[in-house]
């Protein structure tokens, strides 16, 4: 375990301890609190658990895979297609929803039934994660702890950015493959979280010729000449593992395929834009830059 990762864990541990210490302060400050929380959005679930309120979470959506104990909560299904009555059956007093959760009518119906619904702001860049943490804090009556956690997260983020900036040499060209849609790889282009993470970790997005997640032809992939292939580990397994993917004809002919360089990371860690994002950037930077990352102190 590297120093950085230990530090990231310490941040989470400190926040959890802080959550316990501030238990009474938060609830005395007049902010609304919640005893039974349903969360639709994996990033929000991570924040609630990191604030030490995981035991109040009674239901989560499919994207809530971290921390592992979150998966033992009732499953409300897909974040864009939640069932209002299903959520009501969990008798929540607060429903925390991601900016893209839906359908809208479900949340109108929940509010009609007297349940508080709080919709998180969209975190388009890593800096906006702090706003998301603050939002969760104020929704749960834990503003003070959340502010502290957000500050620590921002510090960790800036520290890692500073180290990434010291990396020398040509940035590696990284191709993010979301999945293989009927055979053609679905590439993370610009305007995607994958693109932001690659940039933050000091790489160059080899898929920047497209915008959004788009299928890319075999020749275009060879022309993009990625040095490294990046995938979510869940998807890499589904498509036969890293070895099989590197052996695909369009990948085998690229520098990544020839050098056998591929990185698989947990999807929520890599793309979640949650409290673990500084940790994720550091992990990705180590995978992309190998010994140069060690030299930069990552």
């Amino acid at each position: 375990m590297t120093l950085e990762r230990r530090r990231a864990l310490a941040v989470i541990a400190a926040a959890a301890a802080g959550g316990a210490a501030f238990l009474f302060i938060g609830e005395a400050s007049g902010e609304p609190t919640a005893e039974r929380i349903v969360v639709a959005g994996g990033d929000l679930t991570e924040i609630v658990f990191a604030l030490g309120l995981g035991d109040r979470v009674v239901g989560v959506d499919q994207t809530s895979t971290w921390p592992p104990e979150a998966t033992s909560r009732s499953q409300i299904g897909y974040v864009r297609r939640v069932s209002p009555e299903g959520i009501l059956s969990l008798a929540p007093d607060l429903v925390l929803v991601a900016h893209d959760a839906g359908p809208d009518i479900a949340f109108e119906q929940l509010e009609a039934a007297g349940v508080r619904v709080a919709r998180a702001p969209e975190a388009d860049t890593a800096d906006e994660i702090a706003e998301k943490i603050a939002f969760v804090g104020s929704s749960l009556g834990r503003s003070a702890e959340a502010e502290q956690m957000a500050r620590q997260m921002s510090d960790a983020l800036n520290e890692i950015r500073a180290k990434v900036a010291t990396l020398e040499g040509r940035p590696p060209r990284v191709l993010f493959i979301l999945s293989f849609q009927s055979g053609a790889p679905l590439i993370g282009g610009t305007e995607t979280t994958a693109d932001r993470m690659i940039t933050l970790a000091g790489g160059e997005n080899a898929g920047a010729s497209v915008s959004g997640y788009k299928p890319m032809s075999r020749e275009a992939i060879i022309a993009a000449a990625p040095d490294i292939v990046l995938m979510m580990s869940q998807h890499a397994e589904r498509f036969g593992g890293i070895e099989t993917i590197l052996a695909r004809p369009e990948i085998a002919l690229t520098p990544a395929g020839q050098a056998g360089r591929a990185v698989a990371m947990d999807g929520m860690l890599l793309l979640g834009f949650g409290p673990r994002t500084p940790e994720a950037i550091a992990e990705l930077a180590r995978a992309l830059h190998a010994e140069r990352a060690v030299a930069a102190g990552l």
Partner: protein
């Protein structure tokens, strides 16, 4: 053969009565059952206006609109399917075949992908209506186009109608594909789920509009039962029997567009009902349209309500798409009827 017809005739009254009871039973079950346990006495109290805020919201805002939309959707799709199968004399006809569903889907998908650009220029109250209006217009335009294309020298050719429908479906499919390609991640997820259909996504205003459209179009279709019987003899024979076949085709086409466009706009494309409900009824009580149409409506309602109950209760608090359940419930049942009835009887 005579005996078989006689047996079916004897089945008619019990079948209609049984189906009506089944629909009423399923509607009551739809009110009483859900992931949240509400005792039947509380359901009645809530309907009488005496429930708590949460109970009222669940019964009035969540369960009741779903049931109304389920009834409208089941009836519209099944009767539209029966009428199209009759007028086109094609057992494979359903609202999807002549492109109605494809047109509605294209309208909806276009709204999901381009909506944010267009919606910004529209006044606030209209925005939530954009998708249903686009879906309805898509369905209506396709029907108008297909019927206009099939009309040559004052006559509507059934073969051209079906082929034009196939072509329109292909074009709509390609256009949807293009929208899928340019859509971003969240739009893509929206439209994937829209194309699976759902009764839970519509609130009262939309449900009532859909129900109104269906209640305008259904009587028009039910009133054409004799025309549809005559169409079975062939268009020439129907014409010589005194039927204004052109007018009849236009009324049926327009009514199908209104009914299917209305429910597809509110619930998304729900497959299978329009194709199979009429066949289920024909197997049970024969092809006479005066009975086939209302019995199809009841069968369609029962199938949709049963499917909706199934998805609601299967894995709470989550809810799978209803399209999965309509096929899972209806498919095996249909196969069972086919096998039980013997292959010779049904051609």
């Amino acid at each position: 053969m005579e005996a078989a017809i006689e047996a079916r005739r004897r089945l008619r009254v019990p079948t209609i009565a049984g189906l009506s009871l089944l629909v009423v039973g399923l509607a009551l079950a739809g009110l009483a059952l859900g992931p949240v346990d509400i005792a039947p006495s509380r359901v009645i109290a809530t309907l009488a206006g005496g429930g708590s805020a949460a109970e009222s919201a669940i019964i009035w805002q969540i369960r009741l609109p779903r049931i109304v939309l389920g009834l409208a959707t089941g009836a519209a799709l099944a009767v539209a399917g029966a009428a199209l199968q009759g007028v086109l004399r094609n057992p494979l006809a359903d609202p999807g075949l002549i492109g109605v569903t494809g047109g509605a889907s294209l309208g909806a998908v276009a709204t999901i992908v381009l909506g944010s650009t267009i919606a910004g220029q529209l006044p606030e109250p209209i925005r939530p209506w954009l998708l249903p209006i686009a879906a309805f217009l898509g369905a209506a335009l396709v029907i108008a186009f297909v019927f206009a294309l099939a009309r040559r020298g004052g006559e509507t050719s059934v073969a051209t109608l079906i082929l034009a429908g196939v072509a329109v479906n292909a074009i709509a499919g390609a256009a949807i594909g293009a929208f899928v390609y340019v859509s971003d991640d969240s739009q893509l997820r929206d439209l994937t789920f829209w194309t699976m259909g759902a009764l839970g996504g519509a609130g009262w205003p939309l449900v009532l509009v859909a129900a109104c459209l269906v209640s305008i179009a259904l009587p028009a279709l039910l009133g054409r039962a004799r025309d549809l019987d005559l169409f079975q003899l062939g268009e020439r024979a129907a014409f010589h029997a005194g039927l204004d076949i052109e007018r009849s085709k236009r009324v049926i086409g327009l009514s199908v567009a209104v009914a299917v466009g209305g429910v597809t706009a509110a619930a998304g494309p729900i497959g299978f009902i329009g194709l199979v409900a009429p066949h289920l009824v024909r197997l049970a009580i024969g092809p006479r349209h005066a009975l086939l149409l209302p019995a199809s409506a009841l069968t369609g309602m029962a199938l949709v309500l049963a499917a909706d109950l199934a998805v609601r209760l299967a894995v709470p608090p989550a809810e799978p798409p209803i399209g999965l359940a309509t096929s899972l419930i209806g498919g095996p049942f249909f196969l069972w009827l086919l096998l039980r009835g013997g292959r010779g009887r049904y051609a």
